[in-house]
């Protein structure tokens, strides 16, 4: 039972580094800008029920399994699946490909965050005011029709094209930001887990500090309680919608960063006698806690923003009435508005009608839900403008987002580096620093795609098609392989040897039946729901009739083909490698039959 290890495998300096790295990988941007959004649209507190169920029956078992298998077999994803069975080598290759592709677009998000961070050191913040038009008589029309924050995001940051077919030029400022993002990633990743382990002390803990600061600050803002009540008031009706369950299952899955191979890589650098069960519980619970903890300041701030919008709406109405009827300044207030309105409407209804007064409803403003980049770069930046000391809050917020994303990037890159190191594909004369540099450089080059004018549309495609379905397939095969090919009894023995305790009935039941079944159901539901509609995307088109509403377009044929390829290519390696190995096996079998040689060295099927 000795696996020869010539160069000693790198290992974590201490347990804390390992835990922080796993937590940092799991806790990412999605915890901040996807989970609160899902809570909001799926009935607030009620969403926690499907989320909790998915966590217990799908998230935790898979997490425990990945950590355990990596720790036991002490190899990255390719090596681990190869060890279990050579026909499964494709599983590791698939994980590696997905990690690489996700790393490409994930770092673009970091580049955008850096862009906003660089711009937060000005007074006033550049997204507060519209720029003046050429002859200084007014504001740029695109900005006037939408809003300064929208204009800054879509025009000054992305310089977005009206649709995905128009590529537009490469935006040099985004190239600079992407280069700095990759530079920052490289400096932490340069020696693999040696440097990651040092960097993680900061990048994994800093977000919690900032979240706490924001929590305290946001609770003092006016309208915060409205936002929080809105978030947590459960609407039990939503539980009848099957989409809620599907989204909860996929959210817990992607939130824990399963099937990327990164967790397997991290745990492979552990000592073998380590309680992986407790680690899995800690990582899973901290991840879910962070999601809920992050929702509180996010929603307090969204409530504050809705309140501001509501007050502005009312004040606009008041001003219209005051100016039109020449009533004394500040005689109409928010409190007596209804009295005045009824009086004026009774005296001169036609005049009142001509004013086009708005209906101001706080609920409507609260209902405006946004997730993803929209939350960070549009909604949040707008809220920050109205807070005193806006620059400080903006800087803190973007540094927090950057650390969240950076620690997740480590996992993505380790998911690529560790298998490559284990496969000994890299000639030994190339030092690790150069190899990681080459990895970063090649990812940067391919990632230049996202700096085009249509880059945002491509990023959405990558996010939807690479970062979703392939992972479900990989995870399903992972759990089937461990339970039925490696053997659940053998796995139980391994865990008993590593932790000193045999996994209890909960783990047995979930590993054997519940989790694979849930994954299968989620996957089928996902495919069915995605396949029944032709995919569309939102575009930002200033020439659109109903601008600033998004112009919804269908993907052109060639783009749709690329989408399908992105989903299929990573997972096609699973059958391909199996087939390749099988051909090799058949070949040997046939050769043996034709040429029986009793001294023939039966080459182990462990050769690669």
């Amino acid at each position: 039972l000795i696996t020869l290890e010539i160069t000693e495998r790198p290992k974590w300096d201490n347990k804390v580094q390992y835990m922080l790295t796993c937590i940092g990988f799991a806790v990412g941007l999605g915890n901040v800008w996807r989970f609160p959004y899902l809570c909001q649209i799926y009935g607030g507190g009620a969403f926690l029920i499907p989320y909790g169920i998915a966590f217990v029956f799908e998230g935790l078992p898979l997490l425990h399994m990945e950590l355990a298998i990596g720790q036991r077999l002490r190899m990255g994803s390719v090596g681990v699946w190869n060890s279990i069975s050579p026909y499964l080598g494709g599983l590791g290759v698939a994980s590696m490909l997905v990690s690489f592709l996700v790393g490409l677009f994930y770092n673009m998000l970091l580049a955008w965050i850096l862009w906003y961070f660089f711009h937060s050191f000005q007074s006033p913040l550049p997204w507060r005011d519209c720029p003046l038009n050429l002859n200084r008589t007014g504001y740029v029309s695109e900005c006037e029709k939408s809003s300064p924050v929208n204009y800054f995001w879509y025009r000054e940051t992305l310089n977005i094209t009206p649709n995905i077919e128009t590529s537009g030029p490469v935006q040099w400022w985004l190239v600079l930001c992407l280069a700095s993002a990759w530079g920052l990633v490289y400096i932490c990743f340069i020696r693999g887990i040696e440097t990651i382990g040092k960097a993680i002390y900061v990048t994994a803990t800093f977000p919690y500090l900032v979240l706490t600061i924001f929590l305290v600050r946001s609770l003092t803002l006016a309208g915060a309680t409205d936002g929080l009540i809105y978030l947590f008031t459960p609407n039990w009706e939503t539980l009848k919608n099957p989409n809620v369950w599907l989204d909860a299952a996929t959210q817990i899955f992607f939130s824990l960063s399963l099937a990327f191979g990164g967790l397997i890589a991290f745990s492979s650098y552990n000592v073998q006698k380590n309680n992986c069960e407790r680690d899995a519980l800690i990582v899973g619970c901290v991840n879910s806690f962070t999601s809920i903890y992050a929702s509180i300041p996010i929603f307090a701030i969204l409530g504050f923003k809705a309140n501001e919008n509501y007050n502005n709406c009312q004040n606009w109405n008041i001003l219209r009435l005051t100016n039109s009827f020449n009533i004394g300044d500040e005689n109409i207030t928010v409190e007596n508005y209804d009295v005045w309105f009824n009086y004026l409407n009774a005296t001169d209804p036609s005049e009142v009608k001509s004013l086009d007064l708005k209906t101001c409803n706080l609920q409507t403003f609260l209902d405006q839900s946004v997730s993803g980049t929209g939350l960070a770069f549009i909604v949040f930046t707008e809220a920050v403008i109205n807070m005193p000391g806006a620059q400080v809050w903006a800087v803190l917020f973007f540094v927090m987002l950057f650390s969240l994303g950076l620690s997740s990037m480590f996992g993505n890159l380790e998911g690529v580096l560790t298998p490559l190191l284990d496969l000994h594909i890299i000639p030994s004369w190339i030092p690790k620093e150069i190899f990681t540099g080459l990895m970063c450089l090649s990812s940067f080059t391919v990632g230049l795609l996202f700096t085009l004018g249509s880059g945002n549309y491509w990023l959405e495609i990558f996010n939807s098609y690479v970062g979703s379905m392939p992972l479900l397939i990989i995870a399903f095969f992972e759990i089937i392989s461990v339970v039925y090919i490696y053997g659940i009894d053998r796995f139980n023995d391994d865990i008993e040897w590593m932790t000193g305790r045999r996994p209890n009935i909960y783990w047995q039941a979930t590993w054997r039946f519940i989790s694979p079944l849930m994954l299968l159901v989620v996957f089928v539901a996902y495919v069915v729901i995605e396949a029944e509609k032709r995919p569309t995307y939102n575009t930002w088109n200033p020439d659109y009739v109903h601008f600033p509403l998004a112009d919804v377009q269908h993907y052109p044929e060639w783009v749709y083909v690329i989408c399908v390829l992105l989903s299929v290519l990573p997972v096609v390696s699973i059958p391909l490698v199996a087939l390749y190995k099988f051909m090799g096996f058949l070949n040997k079998y046939i050769m043996k039959r034709h040429n029986p040689n009793p001294y023939g060295n039966e080459l182990c099927h462990g050769e690669f």
């Binding site: 010539i6 862009w115 660089f118 008589t137 530079g183 050769e607």
Partner: protein, 211 residues
């Protein structure tokens, strides 16, 4: 004689009132929002404040228009409302029945806007001349965009860090090699083993021996 003078005065004021009317082609509407601007410090709008306005406007016309000697009487005000809003027209100092052209009034107001505002402790938003939009301030464009400075700082730090790390690892390797050569005068056993090619046929690919 007296009644002639009185008649003339009455006629002229009546005439002046006729010149000024809401929607007059050469007139402008002014709107003040004193309470919104000043809150507790708000002053009451009365005849004296109106006199100040007419005087300020006469000043603006004197300084920025054709240089004629405009007087308070040349600024005629009408249609005052509790809002506080009113219409005004400017008559020529040479002939009280002639109105000064709209564009000249606009030009004078534009150029002296900040003086007028400060006379009343108000701003462009709270002292509005309907039809004369305030000249938008030209944005201050610094020579180097500030974001490039922040970018330069970050990239400088990153570049320095990468160089330091690479140099330190090279130095480490050289030091290790030197130590290794000093110890045995050749390759150490560990290094000899590391040159070996890992022959997987000798390894048990099943880490747990089957019982």
């Amino acid at each position: 004689m007296l009644w002639k003078v009185l008649l003339l005065l009455g006629l002229s004021s009546a005439w002046a009132q006729k010149l000024c009317s809401p929607g007059a082609s050469d007139g402008y509407k002014v709107r003040l929002s004193i309470n919104s601007a000043l809150g507790d410090q708000a002053y009451v709008w009365n005849e004296n404040e109106m006199f100040l306005f007419r005087a300020t406007l006469a000043f603006a016309m004197r300084t920025y228009s054709d240089g004629q000697e405009y007087d308070v009487a040349n600024v005629v005000v009408c249609d005052e409302t509790p809002r506080v809003s009113f219409w005004f027209v400017v008559t020529s100092p040479l002939d009280a029945s002639l109105l000064v052209d709209k564009r000249r009034v606009e030009e004078a107001v534009r150029k002296s806007r900040s003086r007028i505002n400060s006379a009343f402790l108000l701003t462009d938003d709270t002292l509005e001349f309907i039809g004369i939009p305030p000249t938008l301030e030209a944005p201050v464009a610094p020579d180097t965009p500030p974001w490039l400075i922040a970018f330069g700082v970050v990239m400088g730090g990153v570049g320095a860090g990468i160089v330091v790390l690479l140099v330190s690892s090279v130095v480490q390797k050289i030091r290790k090699k030197r130590d290794g050569e000093e110890e045995t005068g050749g390759k150490t056993e560990n290094e000899a083993a590391s040159d070996a090619i890992y022959n997987m046929s000798f390894s048990d690919d099943e880490p747990v021996t089957q019982m």
